[in-house]
């Protein structure tokens, strides 16, 4: 579905990644792991057109995404929950969710989608008039995920969904992500530092280090690989 090959990209002409490759099949949960500053976020921002690619290729359903501006991605079926959530803080939860459906023309499908999201995150329905900026981190993450789902994506990219969230809520967020994958049939790419939890439910995973893909394998396989754990993921 999504094929990234030898991708080079970065900020203002200084490459932060020098050859990242990965592949995502429809219906999968693919994890991209790596320590802080390894180039995970740069990779996915480049996929979404937020950063320009310097070289390499990004192909989505056989079509190149190089040069496609980020606001066109949702129309192609890609959606992203950015790191740090990036909500519109002075807008209500409802408006935040509706902004997610900005590119969707069919009003009926927006209503239906909204109901689905309220079912997954009932708290959002309760607090729909509250300003997004005034909510807790976990609640904000729900809004961010909800907003990213409003455009009916086929592929959802999640950048560090567990960052800055109370530990007891982290499990819940992961449950939601599983649900989105299994019940709504959305393919998922997830970036995480929390490797243990991620590998537990990822179908396939890639480890990025110093701007390059170094190891790949099924979640299960990488979980068992001691070297991976120690060297790249900093786990004991």
């Amino acid at each position: 579905m999504l094929v990234v090959k030898d991708l080079v990209s970065g900020y203002s002409k200084m490459p932060a990644i020098h050859g990242v490759s990965f592949k995502v099949e429809k219906g999968q949960v693919v994890a991209i792991l790596g320590s802080n500053g390894a180039g995970k976020t740069t990779t996915l921002k480049t996929v979404m057109g937020v950063l320009p690619a310097m070289s390499g290729s990004i192909t989505y359903k056989g079509e190149s995404l190089i040069g496609v501006p980020s606001h066109k991605m949702v129309q192609k079926g890609l959606s992203m929950v950015p790191e740090g959530r990036h909500l519109f803080p002075k807008m209500s939860i409802y408006d935040n969710l509706m902004m997610g459906a900005y590119s969707v023309k069919d009003k009926g499908s927006i209503e239906k989608k909204l109901e689905t999201i309220y079912e997954i995150f009932p708290i959002l329905a309760e607090r729909k008039a509250q300003l997004a900026g005034t909510m807790s981190g976990g609640e904000q993450q729900m809004v961010a995920i909800g907003r990213a789902l409003m455009c009916n994506p086929e592929l959802l990219i999640l950048d560090e969904p567990s960052l800055g969230i109370m530990p007891k809520l982290v499990d819940e967020i992961f449950e939601f992500i599983k649900k989105i994958n299994k019940e709504m049939g959305v393919t998922i790419v997830i970036i995480e530092q929390n490797a243990e939890k991620t590998l537990a439910f990822a179908d396939y995973a890639y480890v990025i280090s110093e701007g390059q893909t170094v190891i790949e394998g099924t979640g299960e396989a990488l979980m068992k690989d001691d070297q991976v754990q120690k060297v790249y993921l900093g786990m004991d």
């Binding site: 057109g49 949702v74 992203m80 990036h86 803080p89 408006d95 902004m99 990213a148």
Partner: protein, 283 residues
Amino acid sequence: MFLQVLYEGLTMGTIYALLAMGIALVWGVMNILSFSQGEFMMVAMYITFFINLATGWDPLAAMPIVIVTMFLFGILIYRTIIARALKGPVLSQRLVTFALGMVLTNGMILLAGGQTKSVPDKLISGTISLGSVAISKEKMVLVVTSIVVTGLLFWFMNRTKMGKAIRATSQDKEAAGLVGINTQTAYMIAFGISAAIAGAGGCAMTYSYYFMPNIGTNFMIFGFIAVCLGGFGSIGGAFIGGMIMGIIDLFTGTYLSVSYKYMAVSVIFLLIVTFKPKGLFGR
């Protein structure tokens, strides 16, 4: 007397509010300080003047044309100047509109001369006496225009898809792009609307003002302090800031001394900068 001063203060406030909202909108969305907002108002006055000269239309009849023309003018300025400046260093982003203002003023001197102009024979004129308060119908046009424009702006920003997209862009540009908003378009429309607000204000001001190419400059300082007062980027705050500026202007001028009014305004500016740098309504 008190009521008269209050009324006049609010009237003056509506002009400052219109200016301030335009500045706040542009700052909020693209972090550009719109020093040329007063000059946009001036350009709108001259457009009104020239329409009147050519067709004899009253400023009120010409207003829709002036607003649309100014909107398009704003878009033209955005595409030719602002969009490029945004790619440059911060200092040029800050100063580009300053230079633009000077170009507009001097351009207008070349085009229309430095003399004072006015639009003759207005449709609505005269004074209504309400007890001790003399209400000028010409100024009423300005007040009503300002209120309608403010209302429309709020409706647009809060109720329409484009308005929400502009707000979303101003709150988080990256996220706006990710949900499918073309942020370049949002910038451009926001700049156009800001110019259109100046268009409505300038057009209505021809009802009660004589004007010359440098008229915009004198209003700018009030407009900017109003924006500081209201908290940069908040349009509602800018409106209230503008009204407060009008009240301060008239009350210090009438009850203290005319010489104090600019000092009062400057002192308030310093107080805000010192004690409430984010404005009365800023967070």
